[in-house]
């Protein structure tokens, strides 16, 4: 039976992505078919796919009726193509990335743009939505972003988009503490220099990196406010070498701006907390590790969601057992640190900045472009870890105990490892700030009773007088 074709994109004039069952297919319109085939057959594209920089893509030479979008009415028009992409395990969006990840995606975008230019192609748009992180690695997924280049074209049209969606959000984070999600979630096409101008103290506007990324563009925009459409006409260099020289210079300049903007902020309080602020004695941490490692080895989950992962100590444990791990935390500093360490170790961990108390909802056109985090997570994991998290949800979010367990049950298809933290715990009391009466019903018994609604308790161990860890198996529906 034919799966329902669900269009996943619509902005590109050359084609669109759609899903049939679990397969990701791209319909390339007749006018673009030959160019896409030439690109996919090029040594450049093959080499990128082999290196994992470009999503693996195969042209379906004789697509069946089931592999066509509805508009084809069962027959592929002459010149059109159906391209199949290897699905990426857990879809993620730029507003869920740590700043380090945004910078890494920007570096890959620039690298591909430069290599494409040298090979006679061009990158026609430069937005972080062209990339998805597959584990720790950014992968360029928008095949239609590459097209043949006019060899004498000296201007890279997407330069402004690159600055708006990569460089300026990184600058805003570095200098004003605005996280990428605060910019990229409400603004699909990034942030205009004018907005940073308004935030920036006057003296800063006179010096790099603001001078070239903010001050000059804002002043030029004001000076050329009456510019006509002719301003944007195609221009030509005197010859191909001159055009290549200008584009190489532009990419080098964009790279320098990116490096300045993307420098890591020093002295993050959150990271210092994560490094030394955990409440466990060595023996307690060892017991917690032993329990989690033993559960993971015993049941070998294929995919693990670590909720409130902090610096990812237990994500590492899970990844070492061969599981694909998605690790989420609301603190971009710890997610950035986890991304750096997991990248260096080439571990299968995808760290994302997600606050489980307020997970990102569906957004984009008709709320249909970017799926809600929980919708993507449901059914994707056979184990969920919620360690040292419960008290934050109980106290800061005022979420009832039963609702936390219900969420755990929604997020896993099989196993859950949860840490119970008693209201007498020092950390619990620290964040409760005297509001003890609000949590007087939270006891080990009430926890186990609530867990019993969705799970069977397989194993449990005390790791300290106020903390207990549980291995839970989800009850069959």
């Amino acid at each position: 039976m034919r799966g329902l074709a669900e269009p996943l994109s619509f902005r590109d004039p050359d084609g669109y992505l759609f899903k049939t069952g679990n397969r990701i297919l791209r319909y390339v319109l007749p006018h673009a078919g030959a160019a896409v085939r030439a690109f996919l057959d090029s040594r450049l594209a093959v080499s990128w796919m082999n290196q994992g920089k470009l999503v693996h893509s195969t042209i379906l030479e004789n697509p069946s009726e089931f592999e066509l979008p509805p508009e084809c009415a069962g027959r592929l028009p002459p010149g059109a193509l159906i391209v199949e992409h290897t699905p990426i395990s857990f879809r993620n969006y730029p507003y869920e990335w740590a700043p380090e990840m945004l910078r890494s995606a920007a570096e890959l975008t620039l690298e591909l743009a430069r290599e494409a230019m040298r090979a006679g192609f061009t990158l026609k748009d430069a937005t972080p939505y062209n990339l998805i992180f597959d584990g720790c690695r950014p992968v360029f997924v928008d095949l239609l972003s590459f097209c043949r280049r006019d060899p004498r074209e000296p201007v890279w049209q997407p330069y402004a988009q690159f600055v708006r969606t990569f460089t300026l959000p990184l600058l805003a984070f570095r200098y004003f503490g605005l996280r990428p999600d605060e910019i990229l979630l409400p603004h699909r096409d990034g942030i205009e220099p004018e907005k940073l101008w308004a935030l920036c103290p006057a003296y800063r506007l006179l010096f790099p990196p603001f001078l070239s990324s903010v001050t000059m563009p804002v002043l030029l925009a004001r000076a050329r406010r009456g510019a006509s459409a002719g301003t944007y006409r195609a221009r030509h260099a005197r010859d191909e070498d001159e055009a290549a020289f200008l584009l190489e210079s532009l990419f080098a300049r964009a790279g320098r701006q990116l490096r300045r903007a993307g420098r890591t902020r020093r002295g993050s309080a959150a990271l210092q907390y994560a490094d030394s602020g955990h409440p466990y004695a060595a023996v307690e941490l060892a017991e917690k590790e032993r329990f989690v490692a033993s559960a993971l080895e015993r049941f070998s989950p294929r995919s693990v969601l670590d909720v409130g992962c902090n610096t990812g100590h237990f994500s590492w444990l899970a990844a070492r057992t061969g599981a694909r791990v998605v690790a989420i935390d609301r603190d971009e500093a710890v997610i950035g640190a986890l991304w750096r360490s997991a990248s260096q170790a080439s571990l299968g961990i995808l760290p994302l900045v997600v606050d489980i108390g307020r997970p990102p909802g569906a957004c984009g056109w008709r709320n249909n472009e970017c799926a809600a985090f929980l919708d993507r997570a449901r059914g994707s994991f056979d184990c969920v870890l919620m360690l040292a998290l419960m008290h934050h949800l109980l106290v800061n979010e005022r979420v009832p105990l039963a609702a936390i367990l219900q969420l755990a049950a929604e997020l896993t298809t099989r196993w859950a490892i949860l840490e119970y933290i008693d209201p007498k715990d020092a950390n619990f009391q620290h964040i409760a700030r005297g509001r003890d009466a609000l949590h007087r019903d939270v006891t080990p018994e009430s926890f186990e009773r609530a867990a019993g609604g969705w799970f069977q308790i397989v194993d449990a161990a005390g790791i300290s007088p106020t903390r207990r860890i549980y291995l839970l198996r989800k009850k069959e529906a």
């Binding site: 902005r11 590109d12 004039p13 026609k124 748009d125 430069a126 937005t127 000296p154 201007v155 890279w156 049209q157 997407p158 330069y159 402004a160 988009q161 600055v163 708006r164 096409d189 220099p193 070239s212 000059m216 563009p217 804002v218 002043l219 030029l220 925009a221 004001r222 000076a223 050329r224 510019a227 301003t231 944007y232 221009r235 260099a237 005197r238 001159e242 020289f245 200008l246 210079s249 532009l250 300049r253």
Partner: protein, 46 residues
Amino acid sequence: MYTDPGSGLFFLQLIAAAVLTAGYRLRRLIFAPFATKRSEDENCED
């Protein structure tokens, strides 16, 4: 092209391109005789 080319950032790119073009052409003008000479030398060595 369906990407918004921006205004100020686009003009900045045009101005940078104009300045670089001038430098590039000047450099080619200055070094052109030497480039020819070198290639002649290389031919002699062959």
